[in-house]
Structures are given as C-alpha cells and as structure tokens.
C-alpha cells in the first residue's frame, strides 16, 4: 500500500511536468495551429542554458533563472518571425517538418556547445528533506515541484481567460482573419504565444532536470508531452494537465510493476489507444470536415 501511494505521488509529480510542457504545445497550437515538435529540444536547451548561467557564469540563482527565461522568451518570439510567419498556408506536413527541422537544429546547437559537460546536475536549491504525509515518506523536491507547477498552470489559465493578451490569443485561435480585422496584431500575438511556450518549456526543463540530471535525453520529454497533449485533446489546457497526469501515472506504474523497457513506450501505447478510440482526445474539440 505504501508503495502504491508513493508511486501515485511520484507519478503525479512527474506527470504534472509533462502536463506543463504539454501546455506549451497547446498554447502554440491554439494560437497558430502549429504543432511544435521542437518543444522537447526547447526544454533541453532551456535546462542547459539555466545550468550554464548558474555554473559557467556563476550567477546567483534568481538572476540566472530570470536571464535564461528571458533568452528563451526572445528565441521563442523570433521563431515565429523566421520561419513560421513565412509558412502560413503551407500544408500540415511542411509545418510539422519545419518544427522537426528546428528540433534537429537545436539538438546540433546543444551538442556543439554543451557536449563536453556530461553528468551535470543543478546545484541543490531546495533542501532535500523527507516529508511524512500519513506516515508515508515523500521527497520534498516532488512537493515543491508539484506546488510550483500548480501555480504556473493556474497562472497560465488566468492569463488566457482574463487578460487582454489571453483574449487576443483566443480570438486569433478562433479565426486569424477576423481577429486581424478587429485590430489585433495577429503576428505579434502568435509570437507572444511562442515566447510564453518557450518560457514554460524552460521552466519545465529546470524542474525536470533538477531531479533527473541534465543531458541530451531531456529532449525526449517533448515527445512524451506530445502524447500527453494528444491524450488530453489539443485544444484544452485542462486536457493537457490531465493527459500529463495520465501519462505520468501510467509510466510510473508500468516502470515499477512491469519493467523499465515498457515504461519508455507506454506513453505512446496509451496515446495510440486514445487516438484510435477518441481521435480528438479526452477534452478536444471535434472538427467537422467539408470538401
């Protein structure tokens, strides 16, 4: 029983990071209909960037985080300008390939800059303590993780629902043409959502890298988050978080009860099953197609 509850908690705290990265996908998808396969690489580069500011430039913790978020935001903002603004109206395959090409590019960049740093970790910032909840031990890192992501998720939802930027984003998602005719600068809104997604994935990279260690394998979280976003439905923030939790739990439980190898593919198996039986995810919108 103790095992079960511990696994549950680990699954939730991993899953919520998946949910956070999936949120980045959903954000970009909702505002520009582009599915960003480079998200995983953004997570990886973000983690490396934060680590570099902390360890190579010896900045204190808060400025290092802020600086890396700023850099990530700027990169994200400009990704919209080149190449995605020029690709409006291209078929889906071209858009997918463009994000994959950016993913490959980022990967090369990361190898170029950081390939000599192997087995690096973030310095301990939160004191590693064991917290007892109903006599079951939990790591304090997981608790902090959970609280932080929850704050972010609530913050993003508020941003999307109650601010003018959020309103502009929703309008752009509904119909870029109408949004433009209402005086919304569509390209800027899309660029802003790319920037937010890059910032969110950098935070995800920091959180995930904190207890996993930083390496090129971090990019894989992007693909798992794809699965999470798809399970939840691409149009829904709530869905991204729920999908992340489902994937995180499925992964943790198969990892413990069945085996490590299956753990690596279980997100994709869950995703394929969901897509086969409920193509638009748990909370997605059903599209009606006409010729």
């Amino acid at each position: 029983m103790t095992n079960f509850i511990q696994l549950l908690f680990t699954g939730v705290s991993v899953g919520i990071i998946y949910g956070l990265v999936a949120l980045g996908f959903v954000l970009i998808y909702k505002s520009s209909r582009i599915f960003n396969f480079a998200q995983g690489e953004m997570v990886m580069v973000g983690a490396f960037l934060t680590w570099s500011f902390l360890n190579l430039f010896h900045l204190p913790f808060v400025p290092a985080i802020l600086l890396s978020l700023l850099v990530a935001g700027l990169v994200g903002y400009h990704l919209e300008r080149f190449p995605f603004r020029r690709m409006i109206g291209q078929p889906i395959l071209a858009l997918i390939m463009a994000t994959l090409a950016i993913a490959v590019f980022f990967r090369g960049l990361a190898i170029l800059i950081w390939s000599e740093f192997i087995g690096i970790k973030f310095p301990a910032i939160i004191p590693e303590k064991t917290i007892y909840l109903f006599h079951i031990p939990f790591s304090s890192v997981h608790v902090w993780n959970f609280v932080l992501v929850l704050i972010l998720v609530v913050g993003l939802s508020v941003l999307f629902q109650y601010t003018s930027l959020g309103l502009h984003m929703r309008a752009t998602a509904e119909s870029p043409q109408i949004a433009r005719s209402m005086g919304i600068r569509v390209t800027r809104v899309i660029a802003q959502s790319w920037a937010i997604a890059a910032v969110v994935s950098t935070i995800g990279g920091f959180l995930f890298g904190y207890y996993r260690g930083i390496d090129f394998g971090l990019a894989h979280i992007g693909l798992i988050a794809v699965a999470a976003a798809l399970v939840g439905g691409l149009e829904s923030f709530k869905g991204a978080i729920v999908g992340g939790l489902i994937i995180g739990l499925a992964e943790t439980f198969t990892g413990f009860y069945i085996g490590r190898n299956l753990k690596e593919v279980i997100p994709f198996i869950v995703m394929v099953l969901v897509v086969c039986f409920k193509p638009h995810g748990l909370f997605g919108l059903k599209e009606i197609e006409r010729v």
């Binding site: 599915f35 291209q90 395959l93 071209a94 190898i111 897509v275 193509p279 010729v291």
Partner: protein
C-alpha cells in the same frame, strides 16, 4: 506528364512508354552502364557511398509513395527499415533461409506491420497521424529490443550472415554494390510504373482531398492501407539490403532521428516525383560527407569548439537546409531540375 516537343503518339504502346525519345533512352542506358562500371575503377569509398545512397533511395521511394503520393505522413519510416533488417537477419541467421527468400519476407513483414500501424490513418490524419507514426517508431523498436530479444539480441548488435546465391557468396563491398544497385533499379521501375497506374492516381486523389476522393468512388480504407503496405514494403526491402551491407545491425541504427532525416531528404529532393528520392538522398549524403570532412579542419583551426563539432554541424546544417527548402522551394530539387530543363530547352527565350 508533358510530351517533349515534336513527339506524338501514334500507337498505344508509344503512348505508354516511359522514355519517349531516343535521347532519353540512350542517356538512361549510358547512366546504367556508368553505374555498372563504377566498382571496376572507383575507390572503395565511392562504392560504399553509392551503395548507402542506393539503399536509402529504396526507403525514400517507399516514403514517397506513402507521403508524397498518398499524403499519409509517416515519421516512423526507419522503424520499418528495422523490421526488414531484423526479419531477414533472423530468418537467415537462425533458420538458415537463402537470401532470395529472406528479402521478400523482410518486405512482407514490414508491409504487414505497416498496415497494422496504418490502421489509425482510417480515423485520423495530418497532425494526429504523424504523431501515431512517431508512436509506431518507438513501439516497434521496443518490440525488437524486449519481447523479441531472444532472436534479435535485444539492444546489443546482431550479426548479419553473408548473402549467398547457390554456391556464390557476396563478400566484398564491390559485389554487394551490384546486389543493392540491381534491387534499386528494380524497385525504381516498379515505383515509376505504380505512379502511372490507377493505384497511383487514386493515391494522388486521396492526397489532394480524401473526402472528395471517396465521393469519386475510391475506397479510402483499402487504398490508404495499400499505400502503407507498399511504403513499408519498400522500407523493409531497403532495411534488408542495408543490413547485409552493414553486416552488423542494432536498434540504435533506426532511431526517430533517422526517420526525420529520411522525410527531410524526401522533402529536399522533392515529394511526389520519381526523381525526388534520388536527388534528396544524394544531396544530403554529399552535404554530410563534406561536413564530416570539414569537421576536423574546424576543430584544428578553433580548438575551443570541441571534438563533437562534426556531429553537431551535420545536424545544424541539415536543420537549416530543411527550413530553407520548406520556405523557398517546398517542391524540392526535382522541381528545380524541371525548371532548369525547361529553361535549357527554351533558351534563349524565357518561355
């Protein structure tokens, strides 16, 4: 297919010919002769390079049929190559079957798995389909690594037995070159003809608009699955040929990155054209070789960069080239080649 100027069909046979003019026939013959002669005088480096390109071209042609003609995006093509490679290696290594039996088996297994993973294409398309094919990539490699680890050796490399035809054993790279090249020519011929048949036309119709195609009486289910079967059959053949050339295979040879590279090559070469796979594979392989040659020079010039500069540059340049092609020439090198040919024909006039 537009007719060359001054050439008219006076019989059905003429109308169905692929190579319409004497010039094209002769130039193809010369090209084939050239390919045949290469191992006789070229250095081993070039023979290896051309064989790798030829094996890649077969996989790309499958991807071209699946994605370029039928419009079903697949970002898991290298996993189907893995199925082909492992099927033929296991059949030859454990059961001792001859190669001429292993090769079609490899293609068929890959094709059947392709149908299995193509099933979601009946319900979803575009974005969702691309993601389910990424899932296929991971699930297939997992299957090779874990449940079938007894026969495939799991994550550890597996030796591929040499190819034998009766008493003759293909041993040297130069002999294997002829094997790979022969199948490349055969598969090209098949792909070329397929795209002119009613099946190929149905694929193009599905690509353009599947609902409209269904309304025209094309059975979407069977044609989409057929496209998956043919595309993955090609991948299986390619994987099998590549494995006998590589002699050692491991699951790490067939990663998601390889799949992305393949579809990138196809886009750079030009989707939906017979020439595309050739141009794409040749262009990217050549670019790679140049970067790999330049890498050590850069390291010696600027030692601070680090030893992995080649590996990093290969990926960065590929990513950048792909983005540039997607923006400025989404129809790829094949389209550029057509434009070049037209402007040569019409020179000095603009049209």
């Amino acid at each position: 297919m537009s007719l060359p100027s001054g050439v008219f069909s006076v019989s059905y046979i003429q109308d169905m010919m692929i190579l319409r003019t004497r010039f094209r026939q002769v130039s193809l013959l010369i090209f084939l002769l050239f390919l045949f002669c290469i191992p006789l005088f070229a250095r081993l480096y070039w023979v290896n390079l051309l064989s790798t390109i030829a094996a890649t071209v077969i996989a790309l042609m499958g991807l071209n049929i699946l994605s370029g003609y039928c419009g079903q995006i697949s970002v898991g093509h290298s996993a189907f190559m893995a199925i082909g490679a492992y099927t033929s290696a296991v059949l030859a290594g454990h059961l001792g079957l001859p190669f001429w039996l292993c090769l079609p088996c490899a293609g068929l297994t890959a094709g059947l798995m392709g149908i299995l993973f193509g099933l979601p294409s009946l319900k979803v398309k575009g974005l969702y389909l691309s993601i389910t094919t990424i899932a296929a990539q991971f699930i297939i490699i997992y299957l090779i690594k874990t449940p079938f680890a007894d026969v495939t050796g799991g994550a550890i490399a597996m030796n591929v037995p040499p190819v034998t035809f009766g008493a003759f054993v293909f041993q040297t790279e130069r002999q294997l070159y002829y094997l790979v090249m022969a199948f490349t020519i055969l598969m090209t011929f098949f792909a070329w003809n397929l795209t002119r048949s009613h099946v190929g036309r149905a694929f193009v119709a599905i690509h353009n608009n599947d609902i409209a195609a269904e309304a025209m009486g094309i059975n979407l289910y069977s044609y989409k699955l057929l496209a998956f079967f043919i595309g993955c059959f090609y991948a299986g053949i390619s994987g099998s040929l590549w494995s006998v050339y590589a002699k050692v295979i491991s699951p790490d040879d067939f990663t998601l990155m390889n799949s992305i590279w393949q579809i990138g090559m196809l886009i750079i070469g030009g989707m939906g054209s017979t020439l595309g796979p050739f141009l794409g594979a040749a262009f990217i392989t050549a670019l790679n070789e140049i970067v790999l040659l330049a890498g050590p020079m850069i390291t010696s010039a600027i030692p601070q960069i680090g030893a992995q500069v080649s590996a990093a540059l290969v990926e960065m340049i590929f990513g950048a080239v792909l983005v540039v092609f997607l923006i400025y020439e989404p129809r790829g090198l094949a389209h550029r080649w057509e434009i070049l040919k037209q402007s040569c024909i019409h020179w000095p006039f603009s049209y």
